[in-house]
Structures are given as structure tokens and as C-alpha cells.
């Protein structure tokens, strides 16, 4: 499997675990716990707040009540969390246990939320949406704070998320307050999300924006991820325009600094013009990255995949094989293609499990342009290629 379509459980899990003070109980067989944690923990080894109810054969025969009750009690005792999410996997939902009843009967002193997330019921995006609707259902109406926004559609296990968020805050400047990042924030902050006067929804999460507008009257705009100079400017302008405020600072200055820095690599950057490449990624990021690569660096993106939408009826193995692509932008799963064709892989989208991102090396915003270019150049310079000699 090379595409990150995944399943509903992964989407629900990613939303639930993104809440920084949550605990997650996956009521399923152990594999669901293993897989989700593997992709979550690569860059956050200290952030393990999840467990499995460990559904076993006898649960299939006699029902999962005892197992879930025990797991719930353990979760309430062992985690210092503001909220507990119980995610039900495929097996649990096939068993049709009365999950709500069991939770009620267990009488835990925690705020427990259930997300029905059997993998067979939908893809990752649907799981994310369900989870975020649930979060919206538990928000508290509030008077909007001036010039404050929520960013919707960013997850704690997105590659480079912390560095990117820092860059986004810098990009927006002090005039704009980020009320909450949904769902990557504390539970309290998420509950206070209606206190923002604008929801900035990343591509793919429009239904969440519409839902919150319906419930709380918060208007929303759909934003492209700020990759590249053009998209960074567009991102800022869209938000400032929607809030009807004038920026006190000039993006031109940031652009100039970026270009000055890029001058150190100007000859390499020029060489990117016309380079064939493939871009695979989630709906939040892929289109924006493609636009940056094509419009600003002049790459020829021959193969493009938005994993939120484009996976049906397309044979990407074949498309990549037939293409001229000599660089792939994607997740760790795209490494298979990179290895097969002996070409570099630039990791930027979930899941990334063969590299870590714990520093400040963002890809978003103006400074992200520099980091992306740097990684692209280095990936070529350090490429394994004709190691035994140039010809023959």
C-alpha cells in the first residue's frame, strides 16, 4: 500500500490524539493500537497516551463488555487527561456491544467521548470529520474575540507540524490571534473555539467549517497550506481580508529576506526548472506544494495525487512508472517508489515513520521555502547514483 487513504479509525484516532491532554482507548484488537501509535509516535516518543482494550477470541464469543469495562477503569486510573476518547474498531462494531451503556455503567469520573470508527465504515478523512464534529458538539458558545482565528485541519502527527505552526504564527503577525488549532490543541482551547471570529479551514475540512458556522455562526474561509512565497502571501491576504483588517507589516520584507537567502543557492534553484517530479499527499498540503513547485521553482509535476480525493480508478504504480519523475514528494510510503527508481523522496505528508521532525525546520511560510529548497538540493547532492563509476 502506498497511498495514505487509510481508514476511519485512523482519522478518528489522529483527531483524538491530537488533543494534547486527551487519552485514547481503542476498543479493538491490538493491531489498531499498534498501527496508529507507530505513525503517531515517530517524532513524539514522549507523547504516548493511548491503549487498546485488547479484544480477544473470548470477547467475540461472550461479548466485549468485561474487557471494555476493565479497560475504561484502567484508563481513568492511569491517565492524567481532560477527556478520554473511546474509538471502536471493526471487530467491536461487528460485535455490536452497547458501548454507550457500558461506559455509563462503568461510572468513570472522566469526560468520555465515543467515536464509532470501524475501518470498514469510511476512510481517514471521514474519521477526522466525525471526530471534529463531535468536538464541535462539545464546544461552548462564546463571544468572538477580536481578530482571532481557528486553524482547522492540522494534526499533531503531521510531519513538521510544530515547526510549521510556529512559521504560520510568524506569518500572520501579532495582529491576529490564533484562538485554537483544531484538533491539535488542549481540550479546553478546543471547547473555546467558538470564541474566534473566523475559522480558517484547510482544504478537505470544509464540512467542519460549515458545521461550526451552522452551530455557532462562525464564518469560515478555505485556505491552501502556505507552501511557497505565493501561497504564503495568499494565505495571509485571505485571512486579513476576511477579518477586514489591514496588515501593519509588509510581507514584501519577508519575501525579500527569503529571496536573499535563496540567492545562496540560486544556481541550484535555476536547475530545478523543468525537473520532472511526482507529488503525493493529503488534501491539506498536496495541491499547495504542487503549485509552489510548478509556479515558483518551475518543476514539471507529472504525477499528482490528493489522497483525500484522487485514489479511485487510478493506477499510481503505473503512472509513476511511466513518468519521468526523478523526485517524489510524499510520505514514508512513497519510499517504495523512490527506492524502485533510485530517486530522492522529500517527506512532507502523513505518515512519516522513517524520519523525525522535532526541530524548527518548517516547510510552511517564507522560511519554509528555504528549508524545502535546501532539502531538495541536498537530496540530489547526496543521492545514491552510479556508485561504481559514471559510465558503463
Amino acid at each position: 500500500m502506498s497511498l495514505c487513504k487509510s481508514c476511519k479509525l485512523f482519522g478518528a484516532y489522529r483527531a483524538a490524539v491530537s488533543i494534547t491532554d486527551s487519552a485514547v482507548l481503542i476498543h479493538s484488537t491490538i493491531g489498531c493500537n499498534w498501527g496508529t501509535s507507530t505513525f503517531h509516535n515517530t517524532s513524539k516518543l514522549m507523547d504516548i497516551r493511548q491503549c487498546s482494550s485488547v479484544i480477544y477470541e473470548e470477547d467475540i464469543v461472550y461479548g466485549g463488555r468485561r474487557t471494555l469495562e476493565k479497560a475504561l477503569r484502567e484508563v481513568c486510573d492511569n491517565y492524567d487527561s481532560s477527556v478520554v476518547f473511546v474509538l471502536t474498531g471493526c471487530v467491536a462494531e461487528i460485535m455490536e456491544d452497547d458501548i454507550e451503556g457500558i461506559i455509563r455503567d462503568t461510572n468513570c469520573n472522566k469526560d468520555i467521548k465515543i467515536i464509532k470508527s470501524a475501518g470498514f465504515k469510511g476512510d481517514m478523512l471521514s474519521g477526522m470529520e466525525d471526530a471534529m464534529r463531535l468536538l464541535a458538539d462539545n464546544m461552548k458558545p462564546a463571544a468572538p474575540k477580536k481578530n482571532s482565528i481557528n486553524l482547522i485541519g492540522l494534526f499533531s502527527d503531521d510531519f513538521k507540524i510544530d515547526a510549521d505552526l510556529k512559521a504560520v504564527r510568524k506569518l500572520l503577525g501579532r495582529q491576529i490571534q490564533i484562538n485554537c488549532v483544531m484538533p491539535y490543541d488542549s481540550y479546553e482551547k478546543i471547547q473555546e473555539a467558538p470564541g474566534a471570529c473566523l475559522n480558517v479551514v484547510f482544504s478537505g475540512f470544509e464540512p467542519v467549517g460549515a458545521y461550526m458556522q451552522e452551530r455557532f455562526g462562525t464564518p469560515y474561509i478555505v485556505a491552501e497550506y502556505p507552501y511557497g512565497i505565493g501561497n504564503s502571501k495568499k494565505f495571509c491576504k485571505a485571512i486579513y481580508d476576511a477579518l477586514n483588517i489591514k496588515s501593519h507589516f509588509s510581507l514584501d520584507a519577508l519575501e525579500r529576506i527569503t529571496l536573499e537567502r535563496l540567492e545562496h543557492a540560486f544556481d541550484y534553484v535555476k536547475k530545478f526548472y523543468g525537473m520532472p517530479a511526482a507529488v503525493v499527499g493529503d488534501g491539506v498540503r498536496a495541491a499547495s506544494l504542487k503549485a509552489f513547485l510548478e509556479s515558483e521553482l518551475g518543476l514539471n509535476v507529472e504525477v499528482f495525487l490528493n489522497s483525500f480525493h484522487d485514489t479511485k480508478n487510478r493506477d499510481f504504480d503505473k503512472e509513476i512508472e511511466l513518468s519521468n519523475s526523478i523526485m517524489i514528494f510524499g510520505s514514508s510510503f512513497e519510499r517504495g517508489w523512490a527506492d524502485r527508481y533510485n530517486i530522492p523522496l522529500i517527506r512532507y505528508t502523513y505518515p512519516v515513520f522513517d524520519s523525525i521532525s522535532i526541530g524548527n525546520k518548517n516547510y510552511a511560510g517564507f522560511s519554509g521555502v528555504i528549508n524545502l529548497v535546501e532539502d531538495m538540493v541536498n537530496s540530489i547532492m547526496t543521492m545514491e547514483y552510479r556508485r561504481s563509476g559514471m559510465y558503463g
Binding site: I229, G230, R256, L259, E260, L262, E263, F266, D267, Y268, V269, K270, K271, Y273, G274, M275, P276, A291, E294, S295, E296, G298, N300, E302, L322, S323, N324, S325, I326, Y341, N342, I343, V377, I380, M381, M383, Y385, R386, R387, S388, G389, M390, Y391, G392
Partner: protein, 504 residues
């Protein structure tokens, strides 16, 4: 072969990514010798010189991505320069044999040893009798570097010898090329006479241009289709394969000829001077290349029919694509004044593109740097006009176009064809990077290149690109690259280089 150009692009990007240092200086001749020896699978080079030479020449300029990791150095110090470095050279050879057990060691003298060469031959001679490893010395024909007039001469040659459809090969690099010196040492001290095999060639793996390794792979495929065996890529093979290299009936070389000439003198191996890929652009150029090789091998007649058949097949396959190009209008904008006649021929004849404008962007500073005289410049313009005439082009020729004129031109056509990136603010959706750098020398590869070009046009003329109202103009990215010191360094280099060029 794959139906795509991935291997060509990989060769282009992975092996030739950092070429800008050449704007500010050239590597010393050791670099060419290091390349030659570094490519031999079981050989180790020993740089006989000071430690700094050993340190930096491990980086091999021609293949910057692949240093000569095992390269050794005698690390001469002041007293060695005064009293001789024989013992250090002897010790280095013995240690290298112990450590790497190479089939061959090549001693490459640094410039300090060039001044006091005497001890090298005696050391090699005394050690050669005691070990099975072959040991050769690379003799320096000239001090420091190849003749400074070569670049200008090569350019003038390419302009003067263009006869309206192709170039005649007359130019060869003169003495002082490190690669040639190393190859000559191999020819004289390593190779042995062999019974030549019919329909067998050696291909010299050096200086086939950017992406050359994939280009040469394509050549090998094309030769195989003509039932011609590649005996060896030299020097990109083993020591034993170099020893028996005279088995081939023909050497195919680029522009470094002296070693091939010496091989002919010693072993009777004929050579074919391909020059550069520019001589054989296009399907018909490729046909001509292999016909010339076949003639040199004495199999011109059967090869000729096979080539014609394959050429016609590729043209048939390209019929639809060539019709597709007819839907659009194009301007060709190039500062590559030498390449323009070739590009015009190529686009008009091979691609079937009807050019509306041809804009020449000759920068005065580049002309000076390349040593192009006014007369040569005029000859070049004559060549361009001849290319337009010969290819039946109706394009309007615009000389020394200003930025405003170029903007007007780009507004009047669907696409602008350029060299690499535009040097005027044309929008990215209009600009098509020319294919000047990726020139397969096999018919299938070339056909794929044209098909690939069509798919780029298809994409850029589609809604995804056409609806982009703010496609970036690349020059905006680099408008600031007018750094005073950068310019100063380039100017300094040019002036010092030119000064040497004319021997003043």
C-alpha cells in the same frame, strides 16, 4: 528500454547539479587524470604532491557526486621538495598495495612534482618488478592545465564548421588535458596488442555533456541494435579490460584525441571522433552518427537500411505529436548563440514546430568570455539565417532583443521556448525549458523526448495551468543576484583566464 526519460533526467540532475563554480575558475589538470583513474574499477590513484592536493583532488570535478574515496597522497613536505620524494612515493605505493590490493596504481604528479619529476620513473621501475599490481605514471605534457585557447577555439570551430545542417568535426583539445595524459599513460604502459574483433567498439566514457552517462547508455543500446558489440567503456572498466582494449576495431571518442591517436599508432585501433552530441541532434542526426560509425567499421550498407527503417518507424510514431504541435505558436528565445542554428533545425524539422519568432540574446560579456570575435559573431548570424532557410522556417529573426520586445513576443505566442530558465519575466505557464541539455543519442530515447515535450505542452495548455493568474515569474526570484563580489570574482576570473589565453 523504458518508455520514459527518467534515466536521462537522473543523469542530468544527479551528476551535474553543481556546475556554477566553473563560472569562477576551472579545476587543475589533476582533476582530469583523477577522473580517468577514479573510473577504473580496480585502480587506485596516488597523488604525488603535498597533502592539500591529495585532500581536494579526491573531489573529482567531472563527477562531483562521487569522490575518489580511495585516492592516496604522498604528502610531500618542504624537505621532500628539496631532497626528493622518492621514499615517500615508494612507501605510498607499498602501503596502497597492502591496504587495497588494487590491480593498478597510477601515480599522478602534482604541480610541485612536475617541477622535479625525476624520481617517479625510477621508483615505479624498481617496484614493478616486485609486485603483480600494475603501476603507471601519468606524465605531464604541459604544466598546470590545458592550453587556455581551447575554449574559444572550440566555439569558433563549432560556428565555422557548421555547414547548414550539421557540424564537421575538426577540433580537438591540445596538450595538457589531465584526462588525455592519464589515458595516454594507460595506452603506452598498460594496453597490449590484441587481435581486433570485427563490429566491436570501445566507447570513451568522458565528456559526453550533462547527463552524459545516460546518453552513452542509449548509444550502447543503439549499437547493439546494429549488432555492434561494445568491447569496453574506457576507462570505465577493469584494469584487465583496459589491457585488452585493443580488441576493439574502433574507439568512439569525444574531443580528447591524443590517446586515441597513440592507440592507433601502437595497436592499429581506428578511432571515430564524435565530438559532442550537438553534431548529431535529431533523429536524422542520430541516423547519421550510427551510419558514420558503421562506415568506419566497414558495415555501412547493412546498417544503413536498418537505420532508415528505424528512423521511419520513429517518425511514424511521432506523427500525431508533430500534428499536435501545429495547434500552437512558439517563439524561440536563446542566449546560447552557438546552439541556435541547431535548435532551429531541431524544432522545425524534428519536432515539427513552426517557430513564429527567433530571438537572439547574445550577451556581450559572454562573447568576450568565450573569445568570440565580431567576425565570428557575424558568421553565427549567417548560420542562424541559413538554418531558418534550410528548415523552411518562416520565423521572424530578432537580434539583441530587449526585455520589452521579449515581453511583446511572449504575448504574441502560445509558448516561449528557452534554454534553461527565462532571463526575462515571462510567466511560468508560458515558458518551456528547451531540451538542449537532454539529448538522447538513440532513436527511441529521442522519440520519447519529443513525446515528453508534447505532454508538458498538453499540461501547460490545460485548465490547471491556464487558470493560474499569478504564476510566478522566475526572474523575480533572482533579480537580486547582482552581487558585487560575485560579479567581481567572475570578472577577475575572466580577465586572468583571458590574459593566459592570449599568452600575455
Amino acid at each position: 528500454m523504458d518508455d520514459n526519460l527518467r534515466e536521462y533526467y537522473k543523469a542530468l540532475y544527479f551528476t551535474d547539479f553543481n556546475s556554477s563554480p566553473h563560472d569562477y575558475g576551472y579545476s587543475g589538470k589533476l582533476s582530469g587524470a583523477m577522473y580517468a583513474i577514479g573510473e577504473i574499477k580496480d585502480a587506485v590513484p596516488i597523488i604525488h604532491g603535498s597533502a592539500g592536493c591529495g585532500f581536494h583532488y579526491k573531489y573529482v570535478c567531472r563527477r562531483g557526486y562521487l569522490p575518489a574515496y580511495n585516492a592516496q597522497c604522498t604528502e610531500l613536505e618542504e624537505e621532500d621538495i628539496i631532497f626528493g620524494g622518492e621514499e615517500k612515493l615508494r612507501a605510498a605505493i607499498i602501503k596502497t598495495v597492502e591496504k587495497y590490493s588494487p590491480s593498478m596504481i597510477a601515480v599522478i604528479p602534482a604541480t610541485s612534482v612536475d617541477m622535479t619529476y625525476a624520481e617517479v620513473d625510477s621508483v615505479i621501475k624498481s617496484l614493478s618488478n616486485t609486485m603483480s599490481c600494475k603501476i603507471i605514471a601519468v606524465n605531464s605534457e604541459k604544466f598546470s592545465h590545458v592550453d587556455k585557447r581551447n575554449r574559444g577555439r572550440a566555439i569558433e570551430d563549432s560556428i565555422k564548421n557548421w555547414d547548414g545542417s550539421c557540424r564537421k568535426n575538426t577540433f580537438e583539445f591540445s596538450k595538457g588535458c589531465g584526462f588525455s595524459e592519464a589515458m595516454t599513460a594507460i595506452v603506452e604502459n598498460l594496453m597490449t596488442g590484441q587481435e581486433p574483433r570485427e563490429k566491436s567498439v570501445n566507447i570513451c566514457g568522458f565528456a559526453w555533456g550533462a547527463g552524459g552517462s545516460a546518453i552513452v547508455d542509449g548509444m550502447a543500446r543503439e549499437l547493439k541494435a546494429l549488432d555492434i558489440e561494445v568491447n569496453a567503456f574506457i576507462p570505465n572498466c577493469t584494469t584487465q579490460e583496459l589491457i585488452t582494449a585493443p580488441r576493439a576495431a574502433l574507439n568512439i571518442v569525444t574531443r580528447r584525441i591524443p590517446w586515441a591517436r597513440r592507440m592507433k599508432e601502437l595497436y592499429g585501433t581506428e578511432y571515430f571522433q564524435a565530438g559532442t552530441f550537438e553534431n548529431y541532434r535529431g533523429i536524422s542526426g542520430i541516423e547519421r552518427l550510427y551510419l558514420e560509425i558503421s562506415l568506419a567499421l566497414g558495415i555501412g550498407k547493412p546498417a544503413s537500411q536498418s537505420l532508415v527503417n528505424r528512423k521511419n518507424q520513429i517518425y511514424r510514431e511521432l506523427g500525431e505529436v508533430r500534428e499536435y504541435f501545429d495547434k500552437f505558436t512558439f517563439a524561440l528565445v536563446s542566449s546560447d548563440y552557438r546552439g541556435l542554428p541547431y535548435y532551429i533545425e531541431e524544432y522545425e524539422r524534428e519536432y515539427g514546430i513552426r517557430l513564429k519568432y527567433v530571438c537572439v540574446r547574445m550577451k556581450e560579456e559572454d562573447m568576450v568570455f568565450d573569445g568570440i570575435s565580431k567576425e565570428t559573431k557575424e558568421l553565427l548570424m549567417k548560420n542562424i539565417r541559413l538554418a531558418l532557410l534550410n528548415s523552411g522556417s518562416k520565423a521572424q529573426l530578432l537580434q539583441e532583443t530587449t526585455e520589452e520586445e521579449l515581453l511583446a513576443v511572449s504575448g504574441a505566442v502560445d509558448f516561449v521556448l528557452g534554454d534553461q530558465i527565462p532571463d526575462f519575466p515571462v510567466h511560468a505557464h508560458k515558458f518551456l525549458r528547451g531540451t538542449g541539455k537532454v539529448i538522447p543519442m538513440d532513436m527511441a530515447g529521442y522519440g520519447n523526448m519529443i513525446k515528453g515535450f508534447a505532454s508538458i505542452i498538453r499540461k501547460k495548455s490545460g485548465p490547471d495551468w491556464q487558470n493560474r493568474d499569478e504564476a510566478f515569474c522566475l526572474p523575480e526570484y533572482y533579480s537580486g543576484v547582482e552581487n558585487l563580489n560575485l560579479k567581481g570574482s567572475r570578472k577577475m576570473w575572466e580577465e586572468l583566464w583571458l590574459q593566459r589565453r592570449y599568452g600575455t
